[in-house]
Amino acid sequence: MQAAELKPCLVDGATVLRNDPGARTGIVFIDGSIPGVSPYCGGAHVWGKALAPFAGEGGVAVIDSLSALGSGDGAACKTLDGAKDRFLSILRALGLRRCHVVAHDVAGLAALLMACEAADLIAGVTVVSGGVACPTRDEEENLALAHPYAPRTHRSAQKWALERISYSHQHIDAKLLDACEAAARSAAWLDAPIQGEARSRWQGSVGRAKARLYQAARTTGVPVPVQLVWGTHDPLSSVEHGLTLFRILAEKQRAAHFHLLNRAGALPFREEAEGFHQAVAAFVDGTGRDDGPV
């Protein structure tokens, strides 16, 4: 039986939660909160109770985006590539031989690009609610978070945003809000440029990263098995968006899966933790060995 308790360690200058620091394989979780960009102040705490069943089954490492992107000179927060490079640097420093990456939101796009660069290390990628990676050009505006309260980092403003991107408010408890409020007081968020040129630079970098991903998907393909996990009621990215991304990735990657969790929004691992565990664990089980013909 694997040690279930996740304890903080310092890896490459960032906080990583691990249950077995000596493990050579395992699942690495990366939340997709970008200081100054995300509608709530995320970090490793957003996974909530979703991590426990994984930690009871095998090696688990949780890269805390708040710590990972907030440490250093802040360059990691400025562009998608900056965040991607930082995540990959920490991933390599974990000492794993092979791992499966489960990445949420913005980190999903980063993880797909990481897999293109580090297929030696990354055995598979699960992208959770990865609307950022979907084609969205020339679409009508998404109004889910059009008129947030100010300041966005205030507890009540974060609660508003979390409710807006969820199917149900039930998972938004005091523990989550306390953690989000604490994250808002971190240097990463206090220093984060939110408006103007900095935001345009971030958006531009996402567009260029998406173009690289689509080019790779069309030509060589993402070189490792990929699963997309989507909530049926994600206000930020529709099921149609998820399926479109699936079709793009499936063109050249044989082991591509699309998994839809019912009655969940943009945080399906919080709203449907059991189903999320089943989907990810089955994917890791099923792609962990040769899946040849009958």
Partner: protein, 287 residues
């Protein structure tokens, strides 16, 4: 089973998973049997009690005893009777294609027999326009020949090379059984297919979909769909999922790339992982 000799395969211990395959008796160019689950049983039997049986009139199970039982209704009744006869606790049902319809209808009629339900590429059950008859129209080989059978199964698959000689041997052996030839004669020459089987299935499908719409399924359900199935397009799988998900919080849809109509044959490791994890999740739910 009710006087009909019924063949089944069983292995392993633990929560029971019962598999129901597709097709129907009397098809001249295809004859799926319980052996279609070989790869799945071998793997899942390490953790579960797995059972695959030949449906009424298919494989080596006997034919319906009366002409009026050449129906899907009788197939469902036979399957439910089989589960009862084995005195199984509520089972995890896995139904593929026509077997997906049978498994769903069995659940709707006999909730006490079922713990969870997995529906796999079931155009028979899913709403929307079926394309099976289009894809398989006019085999370019003599009916019932090995070449025609190969052509039919190849059209079901994303990777036609999976239609091996070993698989064709199994199908041809079933087709050659006198009782199977009798069912072909009943369904085609005597017209029971057009006169009885299809009209009744059509009527009961309408009823079954209405029951799903009303929320009568009431068992945890996952829909698994091969992305490249030309005979049952993904859009129909999504519509089926949406129908079920309206009433089932835990409903899931899983789409498998580079798979035609038989994801359990084309990607057995991943399919088995999905079934095993789903059964484990809902074993705890039901206890």
């Amino acid at each position: 089973m009710g006087g009909v000799p019924t063949r089944y395969f069983e292995a392993g211990e633990g929560d029971a998973i019962v598999f129901i395959y597709g097709g129907n008796f009397g098809s001249p160019d295809s004859a799926t049997s319980a052996r279609v689950w070989d790869e799945n049983l071998a793997s899942l039997s390490r953790r579960f009690r797995v059972i695959a049986f030949d449906k009424l009139g298919q494989g080596e199970t006997g034919n319906p005893l009366r002409d009026e039982d050449y129906t899907m209704d009788a197939v469902v009744g036979h399957a439910a009777g089989f589960i009862r006869a084995l005195q199984l606790p509520p089972v995890h049902l896995v139904g593929h294609s026509r077997g997906g319809y049978a498994a769903t209808r069995l659940t709707l009629d006999n909730h006490e027999l079922v713990r969870s339900l997995s529906i796999v590429n079931s155009g028979t059950l899913a709403p929307g326009v079926g394309t099976n008859e289009v894809v398989h129209a006019g085999p370019p080989h003599p009916r019932g020949s090995r070449e025609a059978v190969r052509w039919v199964y190849e059209n079901f698959h994303f990777r036609p090379e999976l239609v091996t000689d070993q698989w064709l041997d199994l199908v041809m052996a079933t087709l050659a059984l006198p009782k199977y030839q009798e069912s072909i004669r009943k369904m085609t020459v005597e017209g029971l297919g057009e006169r009885l089987f299809l009209p009744l299935l059509s009527r009961q499908k309408r009823e079954t979909l209405a029951w799903l719409e009303e929320g009568r399924l009431q068992r945890p359900t996952q829909v698994i769909w091969g992305f490249n199935d030309r005979t049952a397009l993904l859009d129909r799988g999504i519509r089926l999922f949406q129908l079920i998900a309206r009433h089932d919080r835990s409903a899931q849809l899983h789409v498998v790339n580079e798979s035609g109509h038989f994801p359990h044959r084309e990607h057995p490791a991943r399919f088995n992982a999905l079934i095993g994890r789903f059964a484990s999740l809902h074993a705890a739910f039901a206890r």
